[in-house]
Symmetry: C2
Subunit: 457 residues, 2 copies
């Protein structure tokens, strides 16, 4: 099985009756989801997406990717949150570790995912003398971070190539019909791709949002969709005993109700670091509301066994681990005999490095279970486009069920507005005058201000 | 003040009497630390290090760095845990964002911090045709990850340059007098640097462990040590009211005792991502023992406001935030007017990008406080070698006090051995036969094995 879930290492922490007791609730969550009767049912377009996606647009994505590869040395992907995390995860997991430094590759850089002038200045310096194209990804076109970056890169392109040629180098992924970015694209005649109305940002990696950057980086997006399709069929039934995606959701819910507060996402390949970041958004944004939800955190082993390992083994027992394991390594190396054997590692000679990595993983898992840390294992047969697509859908489906079991709307993100309102008010945006007044009073050096200089006596 | 600590945003969560009550305990912890009477007192060499470090060796580090810059296109730093996190943090914080891609720079790559055959194969491919030097960093020389990588790179160098010239390209940072790596270095005549006996890995960034890679990357390590020295004097007194490093330690302890489980390290510059990883090792490894300790996690804003932001604003209220803020940006950009104003961002025209970044930070802090998340702020005047050195020492001192207040030995890491023992046993290392037998029985498909294939009914 390309993607499989193994919870044997939680069986000393959870009883069989706990699984039995939750199974009817899982069925209920499944029915709410598939009958679109649960919270957030306007955002369920991702469920059937692996079979219902727009095949013509998919072809257009591949053609655009080829054009970008021909016309440019580098693609700048402008997006934030769900508009960049999925493609970044895929490219890092499936391409060369040093993709942007390998000759012949179309380089892919991300921008508009921060407001750091240092980052963007350095990126502009790096791009000097390179031919570039842009893929700007934003539902509205007014989100501050990507909109600021797009201003800068659009101006750069128009200066560098002239307005006409710049048009051929700007690719827009946005709302089907409305919004500032759609309007601009129509006006300027940019090539466009659609962010479906009924698919939220964190569920959008299998749409053009994620697919175009992946294809430009050289990934086989047909295989990504094939993997997702396989997962669609595999995780389409309500029975806990046979649906591994739901088993993962159920175990999460059981541990949360037992008092675990943190889920620690573990991988043993550096290429999976950004997959962990994508996973954090998926689960954190879906479940972190109403003062509930497992806190999603991540580590990369064996690297972090030498930093966070001590805590995981013996610290506060408030978490469980979800290990993303890859069965067959993409590459491997045989460890050589050293006649002097100064490091004492000759007992490893003839073994492959992946064998050592796997024994580290197994040894760690056993040690952590002994230390009171339950271990879930999600295993990919190998790390390729197919299993990546399958894994994405495995997590998406699990997240929807898990959030529903938790009693939240897994598809909204009301809390994301709070800082934006304050930021706009502090920056003097029109329409935020009242908020500005309130904040300014609060920030006054006198009175009961939070920022008052108070000294410890 | 180059580095300062502001806890005004926690004052609605902590009362003055809590500070008063803890102040005598802080004094006690300070005295234990400075009189070397507390737990782990064999590992206090870092306290006086900023004034007592070996000035001759420091000069040798600078000369070696110059030689490496002249002889090679790239330096491979081989180390794990405290042997790479500090220099990686410094280089990412203080160098060009795309350091390794900027012409004229001596590239710096890390290896031996994982067991991934994919990573090391890709790195070897990338280095084809480049002149390279190695800095291998290991107290013993037998830690699996760096020892394996050193085998590979030493062989590569000897093949590429011959044994004689390879010797001139291998720089060893290890124990002063004993261990496999020291013995090899003496035998082969490699240039060596000392990891002091009384300074643990996570406290070693200001020794040659961190300084040599930093210097090769072009950082001014004199300034790093100047900053550390300033911090040594600044945080050398036991009085909570005036010692900001101790204030940070005290606030952490108070929140832990109030039931907070997670400390979320926040920064607003992508260049500080690895500083967060360094910080996680420092605090996680120092405090995560005896089933205690705050779980250290990190986010990079505004980036992650679009992924983890929802959770931070409205999820389970089990954490507080420690924000590392940089006052004066390294670089800045003025936002330009766009006549069409399609994105509606003209209200920002004429402002700098850093102003927007700062208002995002302030708006976020206020929103999170409203959402029940206390905010500590550690502010660096600017991000340079001096403030980096000062910040390192600020955290080191705070961590020692914090761990002492928690009642643990902040300087050991007994839990790190558990997975190693299992790994060695599973790999058939001599001397681990009994453990191997135990594990093999446990892993048998029959019996009460944890890995038994159990199905949910």
């Amino acid at each position: 099985m390309p993607v499989s879930f193994d919870f044997t290492n939680v069986l000393s922490f959870i009883t069989n009756s706990e699984f039995e007791n939750i199974s009817e609730f899982v069925k209920q969550a499944h029915n709410q989801l598939h009958q679109q009767t649960g919270p957030g049912s306007d955002y369920l377009g991702w469920i059937d997406w692996p079979i219902n996606y727009d095949k013509e647009e998919f072809l257009q994505v591949k053609l655009a990717a080829e054009r970008i590869q021909q016309q440019s040395d580098a693609l700048i992907v402008i997006g934030i949150g769900g508009s960049y995390l999925g493609s970044k995860a895929a490219i890092e997991a499936l391409s060369h570790t040093f993709h942007n430094q390998v000759k012949g590759n179309t380089e892919v850089y991300f921008a508009g995912h921060n407001i750091s002038p240092t980052y963007i200045t350095h990126l502009l310096q790096l791009l000097e003398g390179k031919d570039i194209s842009i893929n700007v990804i934003s539902k509205s076109g007014t989100t501050t971070e990507p909109a600021l970056a797009f201003r800068i890169f659009r101006t750069l392109l128009e200066k560098k190539y002239g307005k006409e040629e710049a048009r051929n180098r700007i690719y827009v992924t946005t709302d089907r019909s409305k919004g500032a970015l759609r309007n601009l694209a129509v006006e300027e005649g940019y090539e466009t791709f659609v962010i479906p109305d009924n698919i939220g940002g964190r569920y959008s990696v299998l749409t053009p949002v994620g697919l175009l950057p992946m294809a430009v980086a050289g990934l086989n997006i047909d295989q990504v969709m094939q993997g997702a399709k396989a997962a669609y069929h595999k995780y389409n039934n309500p029975v806990l005993a046979t649906n591994e995606s739901y088993q993962y959701a159920a175990v999460r819910n059981i541990f949360y109700n037992k008092g675990k507060s943190i889920e620690l996402f573990v991988s043993y390949e550096p290429g999976l670091l950004s997959t962990a970041e994508w996973w954090k958004q998926l689960f954190g944004e879906s479940e972190g509301k109403d003062e509930k939800g497992l806190f999603p955190a991540s580590v990369n082993f064996s690297t972090d066994l030498h930093s966070m390992g001590q805590y995981v083994q013996e610290g506060h027992r408030l978490f469980f681990e979800t290990v993303l394991q890859v069965k067959k390594p993409s590459l491997d190396l045989v460890i050589q005999e050293d006649p002097a054997n100064i490091d004492g590692l000759n007992f490893l000679a003839g073994k492959t490095m992946d064998e050592v990595n796997k024994k580290a993983a197994l040894g760690t898992s056993l040690a952590h279970v002994d230390g009171g840390v339950p271990n879930l294992v999600i295993e990919l047969d190998e790390l390729n486009e197919f299993t990546f697509g399958e894994m994405i859908y495995f997590f998406e489906k699990a997240c929807a069920i898990s959030g529903t079991l938790l009693g939240v709307n897994p598809f909204d993100q009301p809390g994301v507005e709070a800082y934006k309102t304050n930021m706009f008010a502090l920056l003097g945006k029109e329409g935020f005058e009242k908020e500005r007044e309130k904040l300014e009073n609060r920030l006054l050096p006198s009175g009961n201000s939070q920022n008052d200089e108070v000294k410890i006596q």
